[in-house]
């Protein structure tokens, strides 16, 4: 295997795929990047950590086709440190020689047969616009659970229908749902590990325009953005029936400046420690937020807003509420409440995003 290419292009490609290199001990091959050269003058770089794999193709000058598994970190650092001149890499059975200007180095190869056999993207094809996808991932990702004790909640549900894709995540304290218009070739319903989702979101966000091509089958999901393809294993199990959790409609609705309410929740929330909530009193003038911690003190802030409905008092975890407010889009935001025992619902200016936050039960008022 032998090729020659531009240092910057190779360095950038190595940095990109390195995000999927494993730090799991046990299988040395997972610390490598698989380099494959085709007749058509393409170098494909592949890495995997058994959950997510990254595959990226760049144009190079191919002298001899073939494949080699090279320690990813070492190769990336070496190429990055080379002077700005064409790089030549040549691999035999045991090592990869790197030449650039006056530099010459050789890296020991990893056993290429040990590298996992990755499956080509297949199944239901979905195409969405990169901007919308990146936004959707950003909106729901934070609601996914970090606790491995309930594996399904550590993922993002992706429900594909002819009309589009619905992304859902919940850690059982909050639930985020985002609908996205898409061109889909069929129906599918899978749970994607949150990390894979956010890597795909990152890749989409890096593109100014264009589309992301998604393939979903029973064992994996692939996201193709520009020359990069990210493939992830799926989480097995039953995702909670989220539609059942979404309330039909509320009579009490606050319409408020998104920025103003977010800031107030964060400020007042500073004194809400150790799971003490921020108390919210909704009335015709808007909403009054308050919090108090025995050891720290108390804070109060009133936010003027339009409120339709009965006077209601409810309490929420300020971080969860603020997450929902900042995930919504637009100047103003709607916060719908029923009473202190039902979840609050955050909606942006459109109908495509819904964020549900569980209330915290308030202690009985002291006299």
């Amino acid at each position: 295997m032998k090729f020659r290419c531009d240092r910057d292009a190779l360095s950038e490609a190595l940095q990109t795929v390195q995000r999927a290199v494993s730090s799991r001990p046990g299988i040395p091959a997972l610390t490598g990047v698989l380099l494959e050269l085709s007749d058509e003058g393409t170098l494909t770089l592949t890495t995997t950590d058994l959950e997510v794999s990254a595959r990226l193709s760049i144009e190079v000058q191919v002298n001899e086709t073939g494949r080699a598994l090279v320690p990813a970190r070492l190769l990336a650092d070496t190429v990055k440190s080379l002077s700005d001149a064409p790089v030549e890499i040549e691999a035999d059975q045991s090592q990869a020689r790197i030449r650039c200007a006056a530099y010459e180095g050789a890296l020991r190869l990893l056993p290429v047969e040990d590298f996992p056999a990755l499956q080509q993207p297949s199944g239901t094809r979905v195409v969405v616009e990169v901007g919308g996808f990146a936004e959707a991932v950003g909106q729901v990702g934070r609601a996914a659970s970090r606790d491995e004790a309930r594996p399904v909640l550590t993922g993002v549900l992706m429900e594909v229908s002819r009309e589009g894709v619905t992304f859902v995540a919940t850690d059982s304290y909050r639930l985020a749902v985002r609908e996205l218009v898409a061109t889909a070739g069929g129906e599918a319903k899978v749970i994607v590990p949150e990390r894979a989702m956010s890597e795909a979101g990152r890749a989409a966000a890096a593109e100014e325009k264009g589309e992301i091509e998604i393939f979903v089958d029973a064992s994996q999901v692939s996201f193709g953005v520009a020359q990069l393809s990210l493939t992830s294993r799926l989480i097995e199990g039953e995702f909670p029936n989220f539609r059942q959790l979404l309330p039909e409609a509320y009579e009490n609705r606050l319409t408020v400046s998104r920025q103003q309410l977010t800031d107030a929740v964060r400020r007042v929330g500073l004194l809400a420690r150790d799971n003490t909530p921020v108390r919210m009193e909704f009335n015709a003038l808007g909403v009054k937020l308050s919090s108090s911690s025995p050891d720290l003190g108390q804070a109060v802030e009133a936010v003027e807003a339009t409120y339709e409905g009965e006077d209601v008092t409810a309490a929420f975890n300020p971080n969860y509420l603020a997450d929902g407010l900042s995930a919504a889009t637009g100047e103003s935001v709607r916060l719908e409440v029923r009473d202190g025992l039902k979840p609050g619902v955050v909606k942006g200016e459109g109908e495509e995003f819904t964020y549900l936050v569980m209330p915290v039960k308030l202690p009985a008022p002291v006299a």
Binding site: P28, D77, E113, S219
Partner: protein, 371 residues
């Protein structure tokens, strides 16, 4: 379906015909969990790797394909091996290395196989977490629990497993395994006798550079112990020191394993911090085991020397002697009988409880040797 699946990879595991026959008939339609139970050195790990290969190979364990080769090296992407970190298998380890992968689609098409070495080291929280997976086993997953102390596993876990029993290997079997590998019959007989049914140990006895050095140490320790209480303490010191030296000799293994995670200047790569910490933990455990193994070998040799002393007095010929090449130690017969008891008790105690203070156990044993 044929019940006599041909599985070269399973047939190649020697000395445990019943266990392997059981596993062989299980390959076609495996249960979701097995407990491979039996003494150290009886081939449980070898059997687990072979069974994993049989479960991951399209042909039920041909022993030649990529899946078989990778599984036998424990490098197969669908094979997940968990072992104690430090003293226990922790609940985080079960969550991160078992649950995480158990509830995800397999890295490569096919089954997932999870191997838990020294499963009796699962702490209570970890055992609970494992139990949850065993109660609702994910599709296409097979769990193999290995243990030399199966009675220390919670009954709830054991009851979810098919138990496969491994016996100590017979002396004849070890002798023939060694002679087939080109070891002289005399050396093979000696190593088999001194190995206590542990093939791995017998192999190390004949192949390692130090060879039978630990037996010289047993001779020396017994001589010291005969000199009285002070001698007994020195004997214990001698063995502890020897074990420590032996352990230090293993450090090059860690260096080789760490190499891929270090940068050009030999410093740990930031991204690999967790991997390095785990390798170091695993190595600490191996070192601790090596130390224990060394002590056990010395004690076994001491016990054998003393038995020879008893046998020589009652007129036994060379076929009852264990140390076929050495003159028995110069200890009174009555004392030798009591001393064998003391040393065997120490061995049993150390095998049973990994938390015991080795030096104390040795001192107590050697104090009883002087008789």
């Amino acid at each position: 379906m044929s019940s006599s699946v041909s599985s070269p990879v399973l047939s190649s595991v020697p000395g445990q015909d019943d266990a392997m026959a059981f596993l062989m008939q299980a390959v076609a339609r495996p249960h979701h969990a097995y407990l491979l139970a039996g003494p150290e050195g009886g081939g449980k790990q070898l059997a687990a790797r072979a069974f994993a290969a049989a479960l991951l190979c399209d042909r039920g364990g041909c022993g030649e394909c990529r899946a078989c080769t990778l599984a036998l090296e424990e490098h197969h992407p669908n094979l997940f091996v968990v072992e104690p970190e430090g003293r226990d298998i922790h609940v985080e380890t079960v969550r991160e290395e078992i649950w995480h992968y158990a509830y995800r689609t397999a890295p490569e098409p096919g089954r997932k196989v999870f191997v838990l070495r020294e499963a009796d080291r699962l702490n209570p929280a970890a055992a609970d977490a494992l139990l949850k997976v065993l109660e609702e086993p994910p599709a296409d997953s097979v769990f193999l629990l290995l243990s030399a102390r199966p009675h220390e596993l919670p009954e709830t876990v054991v009851s979810r497993c098919h138990v496969v029993s491994f016996r100590p290997l017979s002396e004849d079997f070890i002798v023939s395994a060694l002679t087939e590998a080109g070891v002289s019959p005399e050396r093979a007989a000696l190593a088999a006798r001194l190995s206590g049914g542990n093939l791995g140990r017998a192999r190390r006895l004949v192949t390692e550079e130090e060879g039978l050095a630990f037996r010289d140490q047993a001779v020396e320790a017994l001589e010291l112990a005969r000199l009285g209480p002070a001698g007994a303490l020195s004997a214990a010191e001698l063995v502890v020191h020897g074990a420590e030296r032996y352990r230090k000799g293993l450090s090059h293994v860690l260096d080789a394993e760490l190499a891929p995670y270090l940068d050009e200047k030999g410093r740990p790569e930031e991204a690999y911090r967790a991997a390095i910490r785990r390798l170091q933990d695993r190595h600490k455990r191996r070192e601790r085991r090596a130390e224990r193994d060394y002590v056990d070998r010395v004690l076994l040799a001491a016990s054998a020397l003393l038995r020879d002393r008893v046998a020589a007095t009652v007129g036994g010929g060379p076929d009852v002697a264990i140390n076929l090449d050495l003159r028995p130690p110069d200890v009174p017969v009555s004392g030798a009988v009591a001393a064998v008891g003391a040393i065997e008790e120490a061995r049993a105690a150390l095998a049973e409880d990994l938390n015991l203070n080795v030096r104390l156990v040795l001192e107590q044993a050697f104090l009883r040797v002087q008789g």
